[in-house]
Symmetry: C2
Subunit: 181 residues, 2 copies
DNA sequence: GACAAATATAGCAGACTGATATATAATTAA
DNA sequence: TTAATTATATATCAGTCTGCTATATTTGTC
């Protein structure tokens, strides 16, 4: 019954850094937050309206003529709401890996399919790593003058460490299957 | 528009091992699959009916009198459907970590809150590790006579490796914040 | 100036969660 | 023995979010 909605707070978090349009919010989701949280347009736009209705955000009218776009700005009420949410313990920490699911049931599909899933996974991780490593490099260079950077850095480091572990596991798993062919 | 539903296949996967009631399926979700997939009663029961309607499962009437419960059995049509899904590449591999989200925005809530989130996370991981380690130990002991065990073992090993990496990261992150207090 | 790509918003069917409700069977405690 | 508690078992539903589709404009490119 309580408020299980998270996206309003995620958007307020992004707006706490800078004014953004819905489209720009989506871009942030697909870059900086990509590794640990996602959201679709289909949820971002309705949520933005909701934030305005609740007085947590306002439509910022600077450069309105520049393009027919809507830029949102966080209000002090919104900042307060965000802060309260940030102080609550995290509830949802979960993985949802279809790769592991398909591997778990691979008895029905055979060993070749199992190896295929591991190799697909491996490729996805190899492709995703450079972005995370680049983020760590840039954030480390920019130093600790800005706390925002430090927090971003910590999440990016999490990503690098986890992805590197995934790659190690891929080797372990492939070895285990090959040694059993 | 295509079938994005996964739960029907997950349930068929579990039924491919043994006949189960909805309640037992939920228990498997909360133990063996817990680490990488979840499902609620609210989705399990409707999906079971759907499976019966589509001829992928039947109500098994053995020991019907034992208790007023409904046990489901996979059909050969269901097994075929499962196999086809298992052979498709995995689509959804994603993390959803509220802890990282709150850490990312910790600039608004302060360093103490950030450390609190990391420590809560650390505790959750420490509490979750023994189950995964126990699974690895038991599955390694049971040997490779059964392929089903091998696939389960690989997913459990994934869990152990990843959780141990999480704990390493917790130390790194706490150090970074303390060195900056 | 034609074409492609990026920007920008909106709506919707379907999937899933988390909560609630209800009932029975088995176990434990008094 | 019976009361209380816990485990088993199923069902329903509002609210949340995804993935898809549609539409239109702006910017860059050749």
């Amino acid at each position: 019954m309580a408020n299980e909605k998270k996206l309003d707070c995620v958007i307020l978090g992004l707006l706490s850094h800078e004014d953004l349009t819905g489209y720009e919010i989506k871009k942030r989701m697909d870059s900086a937050l990509r590794f640990f949280w996602g959201a679709s347009f289909g949820s971002i736009y309705p949520t933005l309206w909701e934030l305005v209705e609740n007085g947590f955000a306002v439509i910022s009218d600077t450069k309105e003529t520049e393009r027919n776009k809507i830029t949102y700005r966080i209000t002090s009420k919104g900042r307060q709401y965000l802060k309260e949410w940030l102080e609550l313990p995290a509830v949802k920490d979960e993985l949802r890996y279809e790769t592991l699911l398909k591997l778990f049931f691979a008895n029905e599909s055979g060993e070749e399919t199992a190896v295929m899933h591991i190799e697909n996974f491996q490729e996805k991780i190899i492709n995703g790593l450079p972005f995370l490593k680049e983020a760590v490099k840039n954030l480390e260079r920019s130093g600790n003058e800005d706390k925002t950077h430090l927090y971003y850095l910590l999440t990016a480091k999490f990503g690098v460490m986890v992805y590197e572990t995934y790659l190690k596991w891929c080797d372990v798993a492939k070895d285990a299957l090959k040694g059993n062919g």
